[in-house]
Amino acid sequence: MSAHEDHDHDHGSEHEHAHAPIEAAGMPGYYDIMETAFQELMIEKGYIGAGEIRHQIEVLDSRNPALGAKVVARAWADPEFKLRLLENGRTACEELGITFYDLTELIVLENTPAVHNLIVCTLCSCYPRPVLGLPPDWYKAKPYRARAVYEPRKVLQEFGTVIPDDVEIRVSDSTAIQRYLVLPMRPPGTESYTEERLADLVSRDAMIGVIQIKSPVEGAEA
């Protein structure tokens, strides 16, 4: 059992298991066998093609927050692109060669000095996977899903993010077909940065909205 599973056990009976206990080298676990059997039946019966799962694993492996960071950096550097991105997140991402392998819509939420955005999926784990990859476990677990919608300031504080009281916090709850991405504020002191260098500043958590991007210049805190 991993260290973080031990951790989870503090939450009592309602805690969410992030993953199965690691099996000792040996027989695959029950659900592992079930997945293999289910997949093979689907292929044998012709519902899905033999290579499709393998191909989709490659697609999943190709998605990570660096793609989202590229989108954010472009939006910071190119105001015209930013307008298109806020108008239609999906088609703007596609301009940068980021394909959407599903039918989800992407709504990009812009942080400003007056508004801070936070995304959540209270019902399950919907997430802008084509641009960020798979969500972290905490995003899928009960505490974040339950609390983000009614005490976002407290939740943000747990991530070390303090939003001034006069800044509105908007929490957007994702659905199976509608996903969100936060466009963080460009930090001061980055006026001369190239897009590539800007992208290096953009983290996954900033695009979920649980943190803000700090200025790389000492003493130039936003």
Binding site: L123, C124, P143
Partner: protein
């Protein structure tokens, strides 16, 4: 008031707004079967065999006990099996037989 009406008002997935403990910033690298299960979910969605919302409802209809005790991807594969039975894509017998086959194959190769 028995309080049982709460069971009607809130299905197991509907937890937005409930009290909950502090957020532990946990994450883990998916196990190989978990990644396969995720890819399977996407492929089932592409073909409209089981879409994302059907999967979510399938997980919910496992009931509170299973939702609480199974891990994330264990819930998914359990939901897929149930939905595939309901849609008569496969039968429980076929799945049981195939699982025994997979197990035997593994033993034969180890």
């Amino acid at each position: 008031m028995s309080g049982s009406e709460q069971l009607l008002k809130r299905l197991p997935n509907d937890i937005g707004g409930l009290e909950a403990p502090k957020i532990e910033q946990t994450d883990h690298v998916l196990l190989p079967w978990e990644k396969r299960c995720h890819a399977l979910a996407d492929v089932l969605d592409f073909h409209k065999i089981i879409n994302t919302e059907e999967k979510r409802r399938g997980v919910e209809s496992l009931g509170a006990e299973m939702v609480g005790k199974l891990t994330y991807y264990e819930r998914w594969i359990a939901a897929f099996a149930n939905i595939a039975f309901q849609k008569q894509l496969i039968t429980p017998e076929e799945l049981a037989t195939k699982m025994a086959e997979v197990e035997d194959r593994w033993r034969a190769h180890s």
